[in-house]
Symmetry: C2
Subunit: 214 residues, 2 copies
């Protein structure tokens, strides 16, 4: 406890991962990791500022928060930093019109993005939508661009579901990188910008924060 | 011509690629590349020994040769070196029982291979069979092995069909390599063993041979 006391001295904010830290997802829902509902409640009752950072890109923030609330977590949409909104900001700033290879459930996050005549490809954890046909289309779009831009929401190798380990977006990012000879731009963990943005919202400096991530 | 004459001095054998060199494949068949039918005929009438080397792994050798014959090529199954038979030899030598992620049309090449209780994964250009579900299964098999072995029939980035460029097995090999933290063993081009084997069948040394490949 003394060691923890020293480590926590000066800590003002906590960034918490969601999938695999708060809960394990499974077909149609999820299961809280024992103790996590109580841990979040205690953190939020403390003096510490709390924010949730996730690379979850199979669900919109709204759907993810709805699920967490049903599982008993005290959490609201405004407390979550996720890659899709961060990506939308980048797309707008750089005039990029993405060909989207994403899960249907996060398409709504890109409602206000121009996707006509694409000049980049954006991929996220698309699950079953990672068909050969869809991957080939993304590949062809990239190969037709003079300056191919590939944006990946995260670069995870795999994640855990109650049924077992599942391939994550990083594997498909590598496939397209190799086929097209490009390097993807990663939005989300572990990009430093992603964490900085979350801390900025909290108003906490990096040295005053604690991260709890898989 | 003088330069070619010098280059060809001492050449006794020719290795020819098939897809993209003799013909471009397309849905349901293929189109000969202009002049290639005649070029093969002339080579076979010459003093040179000819062998065909292909990474084609969407069709068995029998089906591929049948197609080429219909397109007008003078070619027989025994003249073709392809990765599936080479892989079968490796599997038998090392007591490997593969989980197969391959196109249905080459499953017959593995008829005599024990695929029960897999202790490796073998992938080839599986086309539409590269679904998320099938990729995830291959990934899970690898992750459950103490010493994961991934064998890939070729490592091509893409190939050309009449309709456009298509993702090749190399992209999916990279996806599994990244997700599982393994390095694939490549059987087929550009593995030196593959070319050596083809030359051995011809009875020609490497310095006496000419390669015509994409």
């Amino acid at each position: 406890m003394a060691v923890w006391g020293e480590r926590l001295a000066g800590v003002r904010g906590v960034l918490l991962d969601i999938s695999g830290v708060l809960f394990d997802s499974c077909e149609g829902g999820g299961v809280p990791i024992p103790g996590s509902v109580e841990a979040v409640a205690r953190l939020k009752q403390s003096q510490l500022k709390v924010r949730f950072c996730t690379n979850e890109s199979q669900k919109s923030r709204g759907k993810l928060v709805g699920l967490l609330q049903r599982l008993g977590f005290d959490i609201s949409e405004g407390e979550v930093t996720s890659p899709a909104p961060a990506a939308c900001q980048i797309l707008k700033e750089r005039g990029l019109r993405p060909h989207l290879l994403v899960h249907d459930d996060i398409l709504s996050e890109f409602d206000k993005i121009d996707t006509s005549n694409p000049n980049c490809v954006l991929i996220a954890d698309a699950g079953d939508a990672f068909s050969y046909k869809n991957m080939n289309k993304a590949f062809q779009v990239l190969m037709e661009l003079e300056n191919p831009v590939l944006i990946s929401l995260g670069k995870g190798r795999y994640y855990k579901e109650t049924l077992g380990l599942m391939l994550d977006v990083g594997a498909y990012m590598k496939a397209l990188e190799y086929a097209c000879g490009v390097e993807a731009e990663v939005v989300g963990k572990p990009s430093p910008e992603f964490f900085k943005n979350a801390l900025q919202v909290l108003g906490v400096e990096a040295h005053q924060s604690l991260l709890n991530f898989l």
